[in-house]
Symmetry: C2
Subunit: 154 residues, 2 copies
């Protein structure tokens, strides 16, 4: 699995050790891409394959992975820090569409915000290097359900 080799390589490059704990945590995050797992959930999943692992190690490893820009922590305001994989090696250029009805989280298109960031540089003299963007509203599915309910009500 080349993604693991790459992980090993980046670790060594930065002088970190390649331990089985780190490997397992990384694997779980990779295998559950798109799930937005939180630390607890990752801990539970890792324990299935590596029962001896400690909570602190999971937290440490997640922090390390984030520092290495392999993963990315998002706060969906549910009390947990949730993680996802960084896809491109540049910046975390994407955003989330969070449905207020069903709670689903969809990842949005990249690059929508580029022009805005230029405008911010012009207007506010602020050089944007990254962003965390969450749009709240209603997903396609829930919109349709709500429309139908409205019709039956009238």
């Amino acid at each position: 699995m080349s993604v693991l080799k790459e992980f090993n390589r980046v670790l060594k490059e930065k002088g970190y050790k390649f331990t089985s704990q780190r490997q397992h945590v990384f694997e779980v995050v990779v295998e559950n891409d798109g799930e937005h797992l939180n630390s607890q959930e990752i801990y539970e999943l890792v324990r299935k394959k590596y029962p001896e692992i400690g909570v602190a190690t999971v937290y440490r490893t997640l922090a390390l992975l984030e520092e290495m820009k392999l993963i990315y922590g998002v706060d969906f305001e549910d009390g947990f820090r949730r993680y996802e994989i960084v896809k491109d090696d540049k910046e975390h250029r994407h955003h989330h569409l969070i449905c207020l009805e069903c709670g689903s989280i969809k990842e949005g298109e990249n690059d929508l915000l580029g022009t805005i960031e230029e405008e911010i540089l012009r207007k506010d003299k602020f050089k944007v290097t990254n962003h965390k963007v969450k749009f709240y509203g209603y997903c396609d599915k829930c919109l349709k359900i709500m429309e139908k309910n409205n019709k039956t009500h009238t």
Copy 2:
């Protein structure tokens, strides 16, 4: 002070009571607009004027104010939930510019994101009703300092 009367009116409208605790919490948030106070800081400030207040009451009141859409909680990932006043009575249409160098938080222009939200409706079939947007980067001041340091280095 008409803002307090308005507060009283909205409380009654929703069947909530106008207590001095709620009044003091609300006042502190209003008086420190732009400061992005967290719950602890609000608690401390309220205690100066109303020493008997309890922590739980402050949390409850902040949750109530947020539910009433009078204030708005933001997570700057420093471990605290921070609050600011909702200015327009519609949506929280603004964003934050967070400097990675000095940690300053500036509030950005409204309405920058309107066109993007239209595009999201078209492309993703997702109806946006609100957003939480944080841009990370470097503020004017820090950019200048960094430029200067670069020059002296070469």
